[in-house]
Amino acid sequence: MSRLLAILFHQGVLDEQFLQLQQLQDESSPNFVSEVVTIYFHESEKLLRNLRGLLLDREFSDYKKMGIHLNQFMGSSSSIGAKRVRNVCVAFRAASEQNNRAGCLRALELLEHEYCYLKNKLHELFQMEQQRVLAAGVRYPLHQQH
């Protein structure tokens, strides 16, 4: 496990589900993790936009809809092992179930922060992985090029 990954684990940013995803990656599906994570990013950003849109609307009252978005966000976060993001969603959902708008706003801010951190770190992780693969390729003096 790389040092960055170990740190992310230690911080609770990722959990063992992320390792599970890595186990699903092999020669037949060499980019599986980054593919799934990319889908997760797209979905998450859409959900965040929706949540923000709902909350910042002055006449907002549709907590149920917010709960639906949060459930989706929670589900996908747990599926990729994004533990901290998922935990913030849980707290967010609790605030929304109490119709606590101020609490929701705070939770949204925290959620966006956690999500940004996760996204940056995962990008870093993938970049490091790519560099590692490239470096490994250079070691072998083969003339084959892909």
């Binding site: 593919e35 799934v36 459930n71 929670m74």
Partner: protein
């Protein structure tokens, strides 16, 4: 020996005729050709479950809603619900032949529970095992699904060990099906075997069990859930794990 395990029967005859309706991504391993229909509205989850199944040598068709699943199964325009006795009776389009359905519980439109009910109401498909997935570990929800006939209930996130358990169950189910077909010509051995199996879980022996039914009939409500035990994924063959509430293992290799 009526409409017993239609899915297995179809599988057997289709194997012999070399006629394969299902998308064939793994044509080498016909014996491992368990075809799973996965239903989940989350794209992330669909990708993951698809990969989990493929890496476990299953063929996968993944759809995003219960409606689409029913459509693929040919259950939507169901005028011939009662008269249909084979998979290809739905005129017009290709009906998917599946061995297992795994579905998310929380979905917009039709929930996994509603999908489960529709499948169990169908004469054609009620024998197909249905597994429910959910991110919420709610015992009432689990109970409801199992009572409706779900084979198993998996708490998300789904892991390789969960899929392996399902895979082992499907393999043992096929073996049992072949064995039962061989024995059926002889006698009531089948009845007795099933009886023994059910005695593990039910307190009284229900005399009305159809001997030809391989799927579990509606469970007696007297099944008492054992105290919540830490989920263990490493004991797929333990016969006593029927009551584990977090996972509700019906798929144990007892026999």
């Amino acid at each position: 020996m009526s409409s017993n395990s239609i899915a297995s029967n179809r599988w057997m005859s289709e194997k012999m005729d070399g006629f394969d309706l299902s998308p064939n991504s793994n044509s080498d391993n016909e014996e491992e050709g368990v075809h799973v229909l996965a239903v989940d509205d989350s794209l992330v989850d669909r990708k993951v479950i698809e990969r989990l199944l493929k890496i476990s040598s299953c063929k996968v068709t993944a759809v995003d809603s219960g409606w689409r699943a029913l459509k693929l199964l040919g259950l939507l325009d169901e005028e011939d619900k009662s008269s249909s006795s084979s998979s290809s009776s739905s005129a017009g389009f290709d009906v998917l032949k599946v061995d297992l359905i795994i579905t998310d519980y929380c979905m917009p439109g039709m929930t996994g529970y509603e999908l489960l009910k529709k499948i169990k109401e169908s004469t054609t498909f009620r024998e197909i095992p249905v597994v429910i997935m959910s991110s919420e570990n709610v015992v009432a929800r689990i109970d409801r699904c199992l009572e409706e006939g779900a084979e198993d209930f998996i708490v998300k996130p789904v892991k390789l060990s969960d899929v392996k358990r399902i895979r082992d169950y499907m393999a043992s189910r096929e073996v049992r099906s072949v064995q039962n077909q061989e024995e059926r010509s002889s006698s009531n051995i089948n009845k007795r075997k099933l009886q023994e199996c059910f005695d593990l879980s039910l307190s009284s022996s229900p005399p009305s069990i159809s001997s030809s039914s391989l799927s579990y009939p509606s469970r007696s409500p007297s099944l008492t859930p054992s105290p919540p035990s830490l989920f263990s994924s490493s004991a797929p063959c333990s016969p006593s794990s029927l009551d584990s509430p977090t996972r509700r293992l019906k798929m144990t290799g007892f026999d």
